[in-house]
Amino acid sequence: MKKIEAIVRKTKFESVREALHEADIDFLSWWEVKGQGTAKQGLIFRGVAYDVTTIDRVFISFVVRDVNEEKSINAILKSAFTGESGDGRIFVTQIAQSIRIRTGDHGDESLYDKE
């Protein structure tokens, strides 16, 4: 089982979600984070245009069976891409255990709907 974490543009979140859905990945969690990288955001305050390096991002986190790792990554790569600085990162981590609270299922079983 792999945990896939992707940090993407806020404006790309909906298309990533859709791409994952098309790749049959329907279980996810995400939240807003601040990110610092190569991108900058221009703002104006009382006549002064200034740049901030802190940019709102969406952090998407989901755990998939190993078999789904690649297609998940590809879905994100395609849907989150703009080519402009600030597209974000994908990180993959090995997961030791996964449990579905409602059913008590462990491991791979916990990661898809059996019905």
Binding site: R17, K34, I44, A49, V52, T54
Partner: protein
């Protein structure tokens, strides 16, 4: 207002024409209420009426900012709230300037020739010739105890401001700021000012026809509501995630505060439209409050019966719908009329926004048409139904034995709908072809706050 018009030319320094000139004319049914010229005592500025009208004017401003700004701003997604606030704010600034520059003169002044019933001239441009102690030529129930003319100008200014601001609800979340601004200014000049002239000015053809619109059912709400519908259709739908057609309001407490401030400010809007602090004002105040209460309750009950839960956005919307509907009627109906108007308006608007809109498939983001258009039309009709001579003896509706009034109201409604609809469509096309008006996908997805204003509404950075 069906305004009585006593054209009192003030005495600015250096002006030679010093005699008040009476130039009032109205159809027979109305003229009865006008005191004979000979008997009219010299009008003067009443401190009491002026006190109330200064406050009423301030109340109406409060309706746009922050009232409507919060009401609409809370309903949009958080990436678009600043854009809505900015639209309300700049309308307040720009239209106020347009109004003193020439808008007031176009709307409430006179012109000569064939155009006179349709649009005023430029005599009062930059308030030329109006000195600060001149009494208002317009009045309703108090012929003698008047208010300063400049105060009437400013009171009407706030109506000119809020009307285009209401339209924002239709095109929210998907319009370029530049295109919006130009469209709005053109609309104020070419759509609002003429219709205000028709209905409220001494020379207006709808006034002469006897159309009743106490505080702006046709001029403000139907007018803005129809413009909203046209804009929603022509601009096209928002680009929402696949399969989605509803967005969740980002800050409902703001919606409630906005609705409450609208309710509060509407007391100035309606009770101020009598231009005096008297029994008529108190009556307009009373029916305004009661209609809003009835409509709020009515919407809450509809929610409760149809969707199992009464909602906060629902009751707020209902209150606003009630205020819209009572607007044209506020100086003509009594409490029982107000209750019926209020209870029913929510039924119509509820049905419109929850069923019809979806069926027809246009995207009136915040229901500017569904609430102001529908509510305004119902209000204008209801005025023709429920107007009672107990309030103003000269005006009666169908149930007080004057079926003709309903016909007149329908003429007023239809002509406003047609003119506003066509005018809005033309102006839209002009702006679209020249500057562009629809936001790009990138702008819409990123949100209008950051793309149009380089600002973020809520920020936690250090």
């Amino acid at each position: 207002m069906v305004k009585k018009y006593f054209k009192y030319i003030g005495l600015p320094v250096g002006l030679s024409m010093v005699m008040p000139v009476f130039s009032y004319a109205q159809d027979a049914a109305v003229a009865a209420a006008v005191p004979a010229v000979a008997a009219t005592p010299e009008p003067f500025i009443s401190a009491g009426n002026t006190a109330w009208m200064i406050v009423a004017t301030a109340f109406v401003m409060l309706m746009t900012i922050p009232g409507l700004a919060l009401f609409y701003g809370g309903l949009v997604r958080s990436k678009n709230i600043l854009n809505v606030l900015m639209q309300c704010f700049i309308i307040t600034a720009v239209i106020s300037l347009e109004w003193v520059a020439f808008g007031y003169s176009n709307a409430f002044g006179s012109s000569t020739g064939a155009l006179a019933p349709y649009i005023g001239g430029f005599d009062w441009a930059f308030l030329k010739g109006i000195s600060i102690n001149d009494v208002s030529p317009y009045y309703i129930s108090q012929a003698t105890e008047r208010i300063p003319h400049i105060l009437f100008v400013l009171f009407q200014c706030m109506f000119a401001v809020i009307t285009p601001a209401l339209i924002i609800g239709a095109f929210a979340e998907r319009i370029k700021f530049r295109g919006f601004l130009i469209f709005t200014v053109l609309w104020a000049i070419f759509v609002y000012n003429p219709i205000a002239h028709w209905v409220w000015s001494a020379d207006g053809w709808l006034l002469k026809l006897g159309a009743l619109d106490f505080a702006g059912g046709t001029v403000v709400h139907i007018n803005a509501g129809i413009a909203a519908l046209v804009m929603a259709v022509m601009l096209g739908k928002r680009r929402l995630p696949k399969g989605q057609h509803i967005t969740t309001p980002h800050n409902i407490p703001f919606v409630v505060v906005g609705a409450a401030l609208l309710w509060f400010g509407w007391f100035g809007f309606n009770a101020g439209s009598g231009l005096a602090a008297d029994g008529l004002a108190a009556s307009a105040f009373l029916v305004t409050h009661i209609a809003a209460a009835a409509a709020a309750l009515s919407w809450a009950l509809l929610d409760w019966f149809i969707n199992k839960k009464p909602t906060v956005v629902g009751i707020s919307t209902g209150a606003v719908a009630g205020l819209v509907a009572i607007t044209p009627a506020a100086g003509f109906v009594d409490v029982s009329g107000a209750i019926i108007i209020g209870l029913l308006v929510s039924v119509f608007c509820f049905f419109m926004v929850s069923v019809v809109k979806r069926k027809l498939g246009y995207d009136d983001s915040l229901d500017a048409f569904g609430v102001h258009g529908i509510g305004g039309i119902w209000g204008a009709i209801a005025t023709g139904l429920f107007a009672t001579p107990l309030i103003q003896s000269a005006y009666s509706g169908v149930f007080a034995g004057n079926p003709k009034q309903l016909g007149i109201q329908l003429i007023a409604i239809v002509s406003t709908v047609v003119y506003s609809g066509v005018g809005t469509a033309i102006l839209f096309k002009i702006v679209e072809k020249t500057l562009g008006i629809r936001a790009t996908e990138e702008e819409e997805v990123s949100g209008l706050d950051i793309t149009q204003h380089d600002e973020i509404a809520y920020s936690e950075a250090d």
